[in-house]
Amino acid sequence: MASLSFQHVYKKYEGGVVAVSDFNLDVADKEFVILVGPSGCGKSTTLRMLAGLEDISEGEIYIDDRCVNDVLPKDRDIAMVFQNYALYPHMSVRDNMAFALKLRKMPKDEINRRVQEAAKILEIEHLLDRKPKALSGGQRQRVALGRAIVRDPKVFLMDEPLSNLDAKLRVQMRVEITKLHHRLKTTFVYVTHDQTEAMTMGTRIVVMKDGFIQQVDSPTELYDNPVNTFVAGFIGMPPMNFINAVLNVEGSDVFVSFENVAIKLPERYAVEEVMERDGQEVIFGVRPEAITDDITYVTDHPESAFTADVDVVEMLGAETYLYVTVNGSLPLTCRVDPTTSQSAVGQVVDLAVDSNRIHLFDKDTEQSIIS
């Protein structure tokens, strides 16, 4: 059990790469925090600094109010699980799990007790005498978790622990790890580049890009109120549509216009930050599911309706993706309800935007205009 605090942390590698910049984050005791972002954004580097495997170039990291900058890795009371869970091939599962404890010269009884208990939690008691070769991918992953659990650490660090598993197993292990967190009641820091994984597992997510934190929020907040176009585009599949548009103010009404379309925004947009941009270019963001081809909705909302050509219809069962083009030039993705959708390839279709679920971003800074 431990709280964590990163204060203005930087990592500059030899050769000039600044992998992490001004990283500030507080993690509460027992929290499950996820670091997510594209390849090379500095997730592993952040984790490795916390673990003590990389020096901290600037700033401080605290574990339970103790600055650990100069604390040796082995004295930080942390356990790590990596992508390459690499079990010790010549040892039995039991010895794999006991290894770190034997190294610490823990009494045999205590080692046995801990291994047994961890094996029970992970439901691998029947595998203890096997060698890693005789295990499935999922079982190996459990043993890797077991090796970390037996240490009874203050903090668990996991760096893409599931990325070597196939898709189905990955989904299953996500649930397992979430359960494990509830059961162990310990602080977890989990790294992934997969936004779906982050959204399904994390209670709080740190989105990173180019070494900078972009936003720290709950999954729903990230989804509903992304602070900039990067977060908006990174979170959610298929990604948000970004449209270059112009803001127009007519009296107390605000419109966004693009191509041959003008969409009236709800009253909450009649505020100064928006009104002062009359005539200016903005980035208009709409998630695919905020565009509908439902006839009733479209008829009821003429102020946000428009037409488009249907290029592709992708039916996935529970939902249907429409890939359409507006005015012959602007491509959009829509996620519609297969039970009501009538759209077919080659048609011109009537669509409407749910204007309560739209986003406006500054054209230059790409920051959200109102939150």
């Binding site: 594209p38 990389e54 790590m80 079990l87 010790y88 290894f99 770190a100």
Partner: protein
């Protein structure tokens, strides 16, 4: 030292009275109850100056332990029963064998180090090896483990704990940043595939073991050789892997000799040839004109096997943006990276450039 402590721990399970070992300076090296360790034994002087092998105080019996002619240790037991002397004699004999074995361990390490460095007469290796109970016939794989000086002792200890069975692997300390793991590779002989997974699993597990114990290490893997006689080849391959991957892939913690690819080839080229090649492929320093963004784009494009959709997805740019950036590269360098031949040429040229930079940085100007 470790041996003596271990011995005392085992004595504790057999003899109920507390025992301990004192060195010739009077310091208690180890005690079964761990009391007074590292402190000076108060009766030490009196015991040493006595003529007899045994000495007694009010509550303790002492025995001097000689190895050869030399007084090496003094054992004590917290008892004055007649049986106490017998116990002490037994412990003394036990300790002598342990300490002696330690001696041959050190000799064995020196021998293996010499074989690694090719400093032994080849025809003599099998016989000496047999003396140390080393099986000469099994194939072997050598791993070089590099750590910072301040972590090397710790890394060595971790590795020794990982490989306690010398039939699986032997761990040798080479210098103050390098440990060597010599692994029995019989398992790798079944098929090409089994060799690959053997190398991968073994090296990854060594790296993971060190990392999860908080040791930052680089692991380099040599080639599998047919017998203990040839470990020097595997060792020198591992050292090459370490160097080459440092030049071409500084970030990676694991390098395999059999996966060095182009790097291994370029590493052999003389500098003038490299410079000529660059002048021809990138006239007018065209490479330097590519900005950071473009270079990242190219790296990602290569990492995704020239797959445009994957690349744009990973970079979060539109497909057209990618095409535009690649066109820009074409204008500047004359190479169309979507074409296989041009991509190969570009890749080689960037690696040759990296190599020239390395040579310039290290002033390693010798012509190979």
């Amino acid at each position: 030292m470790e041996e003596i402590k271990k011995c005392m721990r085992q004595v504790k399970t057999i003899i109920s009275a507390n025992c301990g070992v004192i060195d010739t300076a009077g310091k208690i090296l180890a005690a079964t109850n761990e009391v007074g360790e590292d402190e000076i034994d108060p009766s030490f002087r009196a015991v040493v100056s006595s003529e007899n092998l045994f000495a007694s105080t009010a509550d303790r019996t002492y025995l001097k332990v000689f190895i050869g002619e030399q007084l090496k240790y003094i054992l004590y037991i917290e008892s004055t029963d007649p049986d106490a002397k017998i116990s002490l004699q037994l412990i003394a004999e036990w300790m002598k064998t342990l300490v002696k074995e330690k001696g041959t361990d050190a000799e064995k390490a020196i021998f293996i180090r010499n074989v690694l460095l090719d400093n032994e007469i080849r025809s003599e290796v099998p016989m000496i090896a047999r003396g140390y109970k080393i099986d000469c016939n099994d194939p072997r794989l050598v791993l070089v483990v590099r750590t910072a000086t301040e972590q090397s002792a710790e890394a060595f200890e971790i590795l020794q704990n990982l490989y306690t069975d010398s039939e699986v692997a032997t761990v040798i300390s080479m210098d103050d940043t390098t440990a060597i793991v010599i692994i029995d590779a019989l398992e790798s002989q079944v098929s090409e595939e089994s060799r690959d997974s053997f190398i991968e699993e073994t090296s990854q597990s060594v790296l993971a073991c060190l990392t999860s114990e908080g040791c930052k290490a680089k692991v380099a893997v040599g080639s599998v050789v047919g017998s203990f006689m040839d470990i020097s080849k595997s060792y020198s391959d591992a050292m090459t892997a370490l160097k080459v991957s440092k030049i071409f892939d500084g970030e990676s913690d694991l390098s395999r000799y059999d996966k060095l690819g182009l790097g291994r080839l370029i590493y052999q080229l003389p500098k003038p040839l490299c410079e000529m090649f660059i002048r021809e492929v990138f006239p007018n320093e065209a490479f330097k004109q590519l900005d950071e963004e473009t270079r990242t784009t190219i790296d990602t494009f290569f990492a995704n096997d020239l797959n445009g959709s994957e690349t744009s997805r990973e970079l979060f740019v539109h497909r057209n943006t990618l095409v535009y950036r690649l066109e820009k590269v074409k204008t500047k360098t004359g190479l169309d990276l979507r074409k296989f031949d041009d991509a190969v040429l570009f890749k080689m040229a960037t690696m040759v450039r990296t190599y020239i930079d390395y040579l310039n940085d290290t002033n390693d100007n010798k012509i190979r």
